[in-house]
Amino acid sequence: MQRIGVFVCWCGSNIAGTVDVKAVAEALKSEPGVVYSTDYQYMCSQAGQDLIVQAVKDNNLTGLVICSCSPRMHEATFRKTAATAGLNPYMVEIANIREQCSWVHKEMPIGTEKAIILGKAAVAKVNLNTPLTPGESPVTKRALVIGGGIAGIQTALDIADAGFPVDIVETKPTIGGKMAQLDKTFPTLDCAACILTPKMVDVAQHEKIRIFSYSEVAEVKGFVGNFDVTIKKKARFVDETKCTGCGDCVDKCPMKKNPNEFNMGMDNRPAIYIPFAQAVPKVATIDAGACTMLKKGKCGLCSKVCGAGAIDYTQKDEFISEKYGAIVVATGFNVISMDKFDEYAYNQSKDVITSLEFERLTNAAGPTAGKLLRPSDGKHPHKIVFVQCVGSRCENCAEKGKEYCSKICCMYTAKHAMLTRDKYPDTDVTVFYIDVRTPGKNFDEFYRRAVEEFGVKYVKGMVGKIVPEGEVLKVQASDLINNKQMHIDADLVVLAAAIEPDKSARPLATMLTASMDTNDFFTEAHPKLRPVESPTAGVFLSGACQGPKDIPETVSQAGAAASKVIGLLCKDKLLGNPCIAGSNELMCNGCSSCERVCPYGAITYLDKEFRMPDRTTKIRRVASVNPAVCQGCGACTVACPSGAMDLRGFANDQIMAEVDAICK
């Protein structure tokens, strides 16, 4: 049986003006468990707190009910008071008789009556309170960054610079991501490679960073501070430690006709390849689907020419297990497929290209060595049409495009148009737009320059259809401002295709129990206040995996994610919230209902042996709550059909007792 002390606060006249505090203290004296009851002018003052501490000592109190202001105001204060008095801080309950009583009711009898009832409810609850202690868990001081684009690179560098080891997992043979494929970057027009490749080198040379290129995350177990991750290192058939990246094998390989992914398939690469000159790691990789040695056992030329003896046709996928304290997702984006946009003739004509393909066409390291030439016949295009919002802002999202704005297209289209006019002033450039969205530093100025200084024609309207006819592309479009239909014979059409999260994101989210929105972007813990954290503790978000972003934004978010990771890894131990769910294993059915509603993936299942009444044993599947992950929402307690799941601090019997006390 508890020995409860009731402390009714006057809060000056704030409470005492509408509530007869003496009557409340008196009425609560006769409640079950109450052995002491008093009132005081300011319970939260030092004198008030001293009074509580003294009362605990004098009366051997085990639980406290404070009738005062909102627990959101002073619950923490009174919990500390309880701790000072030698009680468990969670043996305190607050009856909110100020904000929810004296301040909203006018008449003394009514206020007093309600205050007594609220006090009774709090007493009923404290009677069932049990001491709670927050759980502790250690922190592995190493971070995992999934994705080696600019987001992952920046996050990894920032974490590593703070002194924590970081591993980067990248599915491609090299880090660098999409930014490595870009030519110039808006709004400053500095060259992407010039600012990215030094960072790639920094990563490669950083003593705290390991790169797992051509690798994937295969399995994630554990929780914040203690993730167990299995990384699959795909066989690249080249010994990374031996390969010097000299490129002799690449030159000699006879299987030269494989679409070059780095150049968006606009030229070819051999079966053994290094994606680009500044690749990190600069190591060759054999495309197993294209290599005749791997397919038929014939050839072996690369092995013969390799001075380092790095070629290993017997290499197998390798699995590496490592522990991490935090995981950063930086899986980035891809351009959506244009297959369903028949009206733009993407699949009919080589001269209808996406903007990312255009980047490669204008890049000095691209298939045309930076000369703007039509993919079909290598001629210089004189009339270029850019189409914005291709697949973005679509209502029928499931079928064709995406419902969201891809955010970066307006700016890169302005960039492409401007650069084209700059380099080839004889080229006629028309951009069709629905809206031009330039809300960034120096963005609108950039767009205006494209129009005013470089003479790019911006037409408010949309291209309805494109028909390839002979050497030209017949573009039919609307010009809404002039209320006319336009017909342009273009040499090249560039589609600003929508971007979407990388396909690897969805299975990864499942592994991480991190939540995603319907578009497969990772959701943040709070859209405004916790924008770089996933709701799953210990999982952080960096870059376009969370939503469309340009480079400056991605880098800011990467830094923010890194600082969150550093904040976590700095701790030696994590203290949990003690008000968390717990399952009574004897009653648990193992039905998985709780697991399905848990927003944090805090619930796992164990096969446990139970002794039955007839002395036999039985193995049953039972739920187990990870105290480091559970946030205490209680969704599981209601989903649980048997009532095995309960929430500490807000237990079924406690809430039921409050209901009973109020309804008595």
Partner: protein
Amino acid sequence: MQKITREQLLDRAVALLSDGTVNSVLGWQKGEFDYDVTPHIFKSADELKEGFVWNDFCYANFSKYLVLKTDRIEGKLLVFLKPCDTYSFNQLLTEHRFDREKVYAIGVGCEGMVDVNKLKAAVDGISSIEATEEGLKVTTIYDDEPTVVAIENVLLERCVNCKSKKHVAYDELMGEEGEIIDSARFDEVAALEAMTADERFAFWQNELSKCIRCNACRDACPACTCENCVFNNPNSGVETKAPVTSFEEQMFHIIRAYHVAGRCTDCGECSRVCPQNIPLHLLNRKFIKDINECYGDYQAGEEVGMRAPLVDYTLEDLEPGEVLNRRGEDA
């Protein structure tokens, strides 16, 4: 009359027992009267030949038995499942309530089962029953000549409104693969919904006041397999067994129906076993109908691993007020 014969099932069961595929059989056993067929675990071929039956009275849904029985026996258990039973079978698998590896399931085609109460109401003093093409030939202690009762007049409610002749789970199927039926099972619920609140209250007060709190509905329900039922748990706040006018009593049926909401396959066992003939299925079907209307068609147990609607959500779900008022102010 069932299309599959007792002999077909018996032969198959004996064969599976003798080749060691299974070492016991969960089947229906002859009772004292022809209509009180009871579930039984047969351990040998002889026992099967002696007591196994398959007829129009094999109404019991065996799925629930698997939860306890698969733990208690060695080797595999052969179970016979009618189409509606297979939904419960899948639902229990979804909830990890038994080990699929320990069960060999034979799907048995079903032509509908007889409601013994209806039969008794039609014919008094039954001494024996024989299934024929024309119907049930019922011999009574009063008459020399047997009475023939057409089976469609005495079918169980759940069979009259059969939702599926399709087996959604089995290792082996005997008889033809059936179809999912577009049944009229929600008509009664809709009729109640169309009444005024006063009429509905009068209806339910009349029905629920009959309850003697025997717990048969819970005990027969294949969704009620909790290790420790809340109604037996002194800490749940709803435990009690005596029929008193307390909370537990007043709320029993609401809590019971809510507990199985989204998991109930509408197998109809609750109504079948109710000794007071309370139409309990109308509570379960109300939830199913609401779920179908508000969150999209959902048939519990259709597949293993489905996410039940009450442990799921969409961002566009209706507000509770919209659900309540979707048919107008008071309807």
